[in-house]
């Protein structure tokens, strides 16, 4: 059983005050907080072995390289990738997606189709639109129902031998819906299409097994799973990573260079041009270790409890409507008060020390679907408590009173 009161001591930021009130941090779906164990790794790196990797013969460079590659192995084990060179360390989910989208330019032709879902973040829509502009491929969208769930009948109808790539997030950032990716992957493979899954929102809550999923590409960001910003991963099956051309030219990604011809380095370095975020990569590994030490089963059980409690308590407030009501969702509650703009609620909650996200969450198509300007989104992590949810409920009640 997870003890949140005990775990909170690992996170120095959770004891600070905001606007004179104890911080209640419910913007975890945007970025998670960092435990001391990960902060220590960052400090240790810059204090003791900061050096460029993969090229120095000196001790510091060797130590940094060893730690960086050890982090890659940790991440490989966590996601159960077959080989460590199938783990590409990137600047984050957005870069990982762009890397794949760029790579597919040479693999697509006019009339080919890419399927995305109606639940996507803007960063998951735009790279594919750009890819379609470059190649003449066509973008198709899996619609959703009023619960915020993707409609699988419609997905099946979209699939054909023209489908070359299917792209879906594992969990929606705006609504928290867990998408049936096993089914989506299986159906896509049946028509010969590759599948890329965005795990930015799932990795803080569940431990995906990329081999069991048989997914072709899986992407995530460290900063949503207790790691630092500016680092993330692209998992790709070896065969797919070999098919994609290099994304950027630079150091690390080359084998031999002359002005006539350059040969590229093998995986994973082919996709890791230039000096990487060394400290970030090492800290990413430490964050994965930290979360595994707590245990993803314990995390899921506890967060589901918070979700059930938060949903029940918030619904006690008259005129409060929750968006995203799938039975299969993670600890995200997107809501509005009747007749009140989410921005007003968020502004007043901030005055009470409660951090939530307001707005369209970079998912304008979802907001258009529900015909709302945005929502207030409270997203819970394993270090949050029921007492904090009580503070949120009181805060929302107070905001409602002030704004009505």
């Amino acid at each position: 059983m997870l003890n949140a009161d005990h775990i909170r001591k690992d996170f120095p930021i959770l004891s600070r005050q905001v606007n004179g009130k104890p911080l209640v941090y419910f913007d975890n779906a945007a970025t998670s907080q960092t435990p001391q164990q990960v902060i220590d790794v960052i400090v240790d790196y810059y204090s003791n072995y900061n050096a460029n990797i993969h090229r120095g013969v000196h001790t510091l460079s060797q130590e940094a390289t060893d730690k960086y590659e050890a982090a890659r192995n940790t991440i490989q084990k966590h996601f159960n990738a077959k080989h460590n060179y199938e783990i590409i360390l990137t600047a984050g989910t957005t870069e990982s997606i762009n890397l794949v989208a760029q790579g597919f330019t040479s693999l697509l032709k006019e009339g080919d189709e890419i399927i995305v879902s109606a639940l996507e973040h803007h960063s998951n829509i735009v790279p594919w639109q750009m890819l379609c502009e470059r190649t003449g491929a066509v973008l198709k969208v899996i619609p959703m129902n009023l619960e915020g769930e993707l409609i699988m009948e419609a997905y099946n109808a979209l699939l054909s031998d023209r489908t070359k790539l299917v792209f879906v997030n594992h969990i929606s950032n705006a609504l928290g819906t867990i998408n049936p990716i096993e089914y989506i992957i299986e159906k896509a493979h049946a028509v010969g299409a590759a599948v890329l899954i965005d795990g930015a929102q799932s990795c803080p809550h569940i431990k995906p097994d990329v081999q069991a999923l048989d997914v072709d590409f899986y992407v995530a960001s460290a900063h949503k799973m207790c790691g630092p910003t500016g680092v993330g991963l692209l998992y790709g099956k070896e065969e797919w990573l070999n098919k994609l051309p290099p994304y950027q030219g630079g150091g690390e990604m080359i084998d031999q260079v002359s002005f006539e011809k350059t040969t590229y380095a093998g995986l994973p370095h082919k996709f890791e041009a230039g000096t990487p975020n060394i400290c970030g990569g090492i800290a990413f590994g430490a964050a994965v270790d930290y979360m595994n030490a707590i245990g993803f089963e314990a995390i899921a059980t506890y967060e589901n409890e918070l979700l059930a409690y938060g949903t029940q308590r918030l619904l006690e407030i008259e005129g409060l409507k929750i968006y995203g009501t799938s039975a299969n969702k993670t600890s995200v509650i997107s809501f509005n008060l009747e007749g009140i703009h989410p921005y007003d609620v968020g502004t007043l909650l901030d005055k009470m020390g409660i951090a939530v996200r307001t707005g369209h969450h970079c998912t304008q198509p979802i907001m258009d679907f529900f015909k709302i300007p945005g929502t207030v989104r409270a997203s819970f992590s394993f270090y949050n408590t029921k007492a904090e949810i009580d503070a949120l409920v009181e805060g929302v009640k107070k905001a409602k009173m002030m704004l009505s």
Binding site: H341, Y343, D344, K351, T358, G359, P373, M402, L403
Partner: protein, 141 residues
């Protein structure tokens, strides 16, 4: 006719009576409710101020040598902020509006809304009001 500076002093006086953020924000919310609304015909894309998480429409009209502003927003706190700005800038000459500083916002405890990255775009609002003033000043010359 009060000058911009005098109106700002008056607002600072009013806000100095409030003891905490709740009173301050309740007052802004009430101001928002009383905001002189923009004519529906001006609530178009052209009149939207970019950089706001809530929608803000502003319209300016020259009346003699002074500018009259009307506005609206779909968020009430934003409306309150606009109401304060309109009270300061409306019915003033373009040159006065262009030259006015907005330090009073800091003094009434709304400094947090002045950050250029703040999603409510108070900064964009002020910029837009001043842009109108610059445009009308050119017309007047």
């Amino acid at each position: 006719m009060q000058t911009i500076k005098e109106i700002q002093e008056e607002i600072i006086d009013e806000f100095s009576m409030f003891e905490d953020w709740e009173e301050r924000y309740q007052y802004m919310i009430d101001l928002g409710k009383d905001l002189p609304l923009i004519d529906e015909q001006y609530k178009t894309e052209d009149h939207i101020i970019k950089g706001c998480q809530s929608k803000v429409w502003v319209h300016a009209e020259l009346q003699d040598d002074k500018i009259a502003f009307t506005a609206d927003s779909d968020a009430i706190i934003t409306k309150g902020i606009i109401a304060i700005l309109i009270r300061v800038f409306s019915n003033q000459q373009p040159s006065e509006i262009i030259e006015a500083n907005t330090d009073f916002i800091d003094e009434i405890g709304l400094k947090e809304h002045l950050s250029p990255t703040r999603a409510n775009g108070l900064v964009s609002m002020i910029k837009q009001l001043k842009m109108y003033a610059i445009a009308y000043q050119t017309q007047l010359k």
